[in-house]
Structure formats: C-alpha cells, structure tokens
C-alpha cells in the first residue's frame, strides 16, 4: 500500500513530530511496506465479532474516594525543563 509524502506530513503534524525531507521519504516507504503487510487483516471475517480493547480480569475495582496526599508541588515541578516557583513555564500562547 502506497503512502505519499503529503500523507506522511499530515500524520506527522497530527503526531506533533517535525520530520526532515529525508525522514518523510523514508517513512513513506517503510509505512507503506508495513501497511501492506497489515492489509492481510482485511481478509479475516470479523462480522459479528466484538472488539477486545482490554484483556483484563473481571470488572474494574475502584478504591474508596478519600483524599490522600500525593506529590508535593516542588516534587512535581522538579523534573520540568522550565518552571517558576509554582508552575510549568511554556512559550507564550496568548499574545
């Protein structure tokens, strides 16, 4: 299945990935080959089959809704590339 560079650019934009021209070329070819292989699923009869999204155990269990302490603000901010005393800092998004 052929994937062209315009499609690669569109998907890369959805995925917030900047690709070089060489990467676009490479991924167009490689994704095309992998999608070609994945096409085989089209031949499987799945009419009347429910999707399995999760192979887990019997129903989910939820714990009591009680407040408890988590990470402190200092701990939560410690690994951020840029932060001030109370928040993550990002490039300005509102002029």
């Amino acid at each position: 299945m052929a994937i062209d560079r315009a499609q690669v650019r569109h998907v890369a934009r959805l995925a917030r990935l900047r690709l070089s021209a060489a990467e676009e070329e490479l991924y167009a070819a490689q994704l095309g080959a992998v999608l070609g292989y994945l096409e085989r699923l089209a031949a499987v009869d799945v009419s009347s089959v429910e999707p399995l999204s999760f192979a887990g155990d019997e129903g989910s269990s939820l714990r009591e809704d009680v407040a408890r302490s988590g990470l402190s603000r200092e701990q939560a901010l410690a690994a951020a590339p840029q932060h001030d005393a109370q928040a993550f800092v990002v490039p300005r998004i509102i002029e």
Binding site: V11, V46, F54, L71, A79, A80, F88, V90
Partner: protein, 482 residues
C-alpha cells in the same frame, strides 16, 4: 560466578552466603565484564551497599523479610525508582529522575531485594534487539556480534552472563520471553493484571506486563511471588489471591495436557530450533504429560493485529512527551514548534515510526479499517486459546522465537523483518495470557534455544511446574568468557 537465583536464596537462608559479599561479587563481575555487553545503563552502588548491609543484619538475626532478602536484582530502565535516573532507553528522558518508585520496585525492596542498577532496553521498549536504545546496543554473551534480543535485552544479557541472579523486564509483545530465549535464561510474562504496572513507563497499556528473568525457573517463581498482587494504584491489577508458587513448582506434571498448535510450527521456523523444542516436548511426555495437536487458526494474524493495537496505544501514551513537565525540551518561539522540535530531537527512528503508524491507524477515515478491525481479530485470537483450554489443554507449547540470536545490524534496516521475530510471543499478549520461555538446547553455532509455554489466565503455577520439568533435562552451558 553467580549461580541460579534459587541456589542463591538457599545459600542466604543457610548462612553460607552474605548479602554484602554477594553484592560485591556482582559489582566485581559487572565492572570486569559489562564493557563487553553494555547491559547496564547505570549502577546504584551506594544505595545497594546500604540495602545489602541492612540485609546482612536481618540474615544474621535469622529474620529475613522474604526468601529473596539480600538477593541482588537489576531493573530494566523503564521502572521508575525514586531518585534514580530513569531513561527508558530514550534521549527524551535523559536526566529524568522520578519522584516515586514503581510498585514492582517498592515490593522488591520490601522483600529485601538489593537493587543493583538499571538495564539497557530498546527505546520505550519498542524493538526486538536492544539496538533501538539511544545509548547504544547491548550484546549477546553467547556471541558478542549478535543481539541479545529485546526489548528487555539488558535484563536477559545481564542474567545470562551471571552479572546478577535476577532482573525485572516488561513484555508487550514478547520483550521478556524473546530475549530470555536468545540469551539462554528463563523469562516469564505473567497474566495481564497479575503484576502492577504503576510506575512502569507505558508503551501499550492493554498489552504491557511486568515480569521476572532468572537463570532458573525457581528464581523466576521467587521473583514473581514478591511482585504479584493487586495494587490500588493500578486499576487493571487483579484482586485474585496470589498462590504460593514455590509449592506449585514442586508438583508433578503427570497428567497435564499440552496443546501443540500446528500454526506455530509452520513456515519460517528454523530446523534446529524446531528439533530442540520437540526434544523438550518429548521430555515432558516422558514425565507423564500428554501432547495434543490443536489449532489456533487466527494466530497467523497476530503480528498484524499487534502492530496496530500496540502502535495506536503507543501514539497516545507518548503524547505526554511534550517538553513541558519532564524530559528534553527544544528551544522554540511558539508552543507548537516547541512540541514538534522537542519530539523530533528526543525520539529515535523506531519510536517515530511507531508513533506515525499508530497515529495513522487512529486517524479519521482509517479507524474502522485498521484499529477497530485489529481489536476484533484480537477477540478471535483470544477465543482460539479459550477453545483449546476448554478442550482440556493446560498449556500451549511452541518455540519462543523462530530463530536463534541474529547479528547486530541484521534486521535494523528492515522494520517488518524485525517485527516478524515476535510471531510466537505476540498471541499471549493479545489474549492477556501468561507465557514463559525456558532454555531447551543450543544450535550448532552454540546459541541458546528457548521453548515457550502459554497457560490459562492466572495459572502461572502450572506454567512454572511445566517449565521446571522442562529445564531438568536440558544441557547446561556457560557462555565462554563469562
């Protein structure tokens, strides 16, 4: 030389070994030998020595916290450990120091295990050779020109080379079992939900599972015992009680039925691998098991379904690497450019490829044809196993991998060829079932071969029993130079 984890635990129990001595022996071997392998990304010597000293006192007082109190264990680098850099094999997380422990790590520590360091892996566990690590590949102790498999390649190489008696890995499509097979050690992927995933860096959340690697089946059982069980921090962890694996291990395998699926002994299987696996099956038959031909008609679709489900989940899980809260950030003037440049600089080629594939599979117009269809095929694959178990099969046997270890670089330019090396391991992940790989022989080049057993949900006990029987008759060798 560190022997099996079971023997190490017995030595500690008798007082013949001391935790600190054992740790120093491991650190000495790592210092002498790991330059050849590059299994470790970093050591935690200071905290390990303190933990070993504390274990010395408990052992001397005959008050161990558990059977593995004082046993040195290493972790794949996708387990968060408070205060210890955790990279997941990725440049985007280089320098990241988590503020908390993964539950599996906390449980090992609560059992007295001594955490020695963090092990190399394919970036974000995406790969089957450990060549996708941003920090360079790991090599196979049996042949340094070959890969250890992956993605838990550092874990398998470190255990197989006797650098540590046990390690934790994670398995999303075979990432514990495949490297265990290629390196000649035992690797167990428990049932989905048996071990908490809290604090384990996510790849594909409906498939990821934590599990142990050790030289011996008993070692794997001891590690599983200490990490299994419900965790309120992982909503998908199961409330089912954890049995005593050590007791189940010693039970006879007589009367068990082993399903032999024709689809997993088909094209692409190396002749020498098949002979070794069939010899292991014959030994189980001699021990009183019945071999029963079965069919898993949808197993041949597993790789295709897996690469859609896994990449779709990965593309959404990896959206969190945006340069805001942790990890690498690229300098840029706008937020969008910052995201795009951060991710372009931080992720390696295979991770980008899988994010692209997953994003494509989830994008408007393709969702039904790819992702939804893959989830339906997943139902069919699980149904195949359920039918086999309903017909009296206790475990399904197959090779773990179609070949022995491949050379570095042999498949790195061909994503599809690399994906196909997971053909026998992926069905268990899609169906959520436990699977174990046990060494069962060597090819003519002296490379190890593994046999895989896949069991009923939460029936790790039967798998460990069978694995224990299968390892008894095998030829034991040590990799030269280790």
């Amino acid at each position: 030389m560190v022997s099996g984890l079971g023997e190490v635990a017995a030595g500690l129990s008798k007082g013949a070994l001391q935790p600190s001595e054992l740790l120093e022996a491991c650190l000495t071997r790592i210092a002498a030998l790991d330059d050849k392998l590059h299994a470790f990304l970093r050591l935690t010597e200071r905290t390990a020595r303190a933990a070993a000293k504390a274990a010395d006192l408990r052992r001397a007082a005959r008050q161990p916290l558990s059977a593995i109190d004082g046993v040195p264990i290493a972790l794949k680098d996708n387990f968060c450990m408070e205060g210890v850099e955790t990279t997941c094999g990725s440049r985007i997380l280089q320098g990241y120091v988590p503020p908390y422990d993964a539950t599996a790590v906390a449980r090992l520590e609560a059992a007295g295990a001594v955490i020695v360091g963090k092990l190399n892996m394919d970036e974000f566990a995406m790969g089957s050779s450990t060549e996708n690590s941003a920090f360079g590949p790991t090599r196979n102790p049996w042949d340094l020109s070959r890969t250890p498999g992956g993605s838990s390649g550092g874990s398998a190489a470190a255990v197989a080379a006797g650098l540590v008696p046990g390690a934790l890995g994670t398995d999303t499509g075979g990432s514990i079992r495949q490297p265990a097979s290629l390196c000649g050690c035992v690797g167990l992927k428990p049932t989905y939900g048996r071990v908490s995933r809290y604090g384990v860096i996510a790849f594909a959340s409906s498939l990821d599972q934590v599990g142990p690697l050790a030289p011996d089946v008993q070692g794997v059982a001891l590690l599983l015992q200490s990490i299994a069980g419900q965790d309120e921090r992982d909503q998908t962890s199961s409330a089912r009680p954890v049995p005593s694996y050590g007791e189940l291990l010693e039970k006879s395998v007589r009367g068990l039925t082993i399903g032999v699926p024709k689809e997993l002994f088909a094209e692409g299987l190396d002749g020498q691998v098949e002979r070794a696996v069939r010899a292991a099956m014959a030994r189980l038959e001699e021990d009183g098991c019945t071999l029963k031909p079965i069919s898993l008609p949808n197993a041949p679709h597993a790789i295709a379904a897996y690469y859609l489900v896994a990449t779709a989940e990965a593309s959404s899980n990896l959206a969190r690497y945006d340069g805001v809260r942790f990890g690498h950030r690229a300098q840029a003037d706008s937020l969008l450019e910052m995201y795009q440049a951060t991710r372009a600089e931080g992720f390696g080629a295979e991770v980008k490829r899988r994010i692209m594939l997953g994003t494509y599979a989830l994008s408007a117009g393709y969702y039904d044809a790819y992702y939804l269809r893959a989830q339906k095929v997943r139902t069919l694959i699980r149904r195949d196993f359920e039918q086999a178990f309903a017909a009296g099969v206790d475990a399904v046997v197959s090779p773990t991998c179609p070949t022995t270890a491949f050379r570095l670089g042999e498949k790195s330019g061909e994503p599809l060829a690399m994906y196909l090396s997971d053909v026998y391991t992926v069905p268990a992940n899609l169906a959520g079932l436990p699977g174990i790989s046990v060494p069962c022989g060597f090819d003519q080049g002296g490379l190890p071969i593994g046999v895989q057993l896949v069991g009923r949900p939460f029936d790790e006990g039967t798998l460990l029993r069978l694995a224990r029987a299968a390892e008894r008759g095998r030829e034991q060798r040590t990799p030269e130079g280790f």
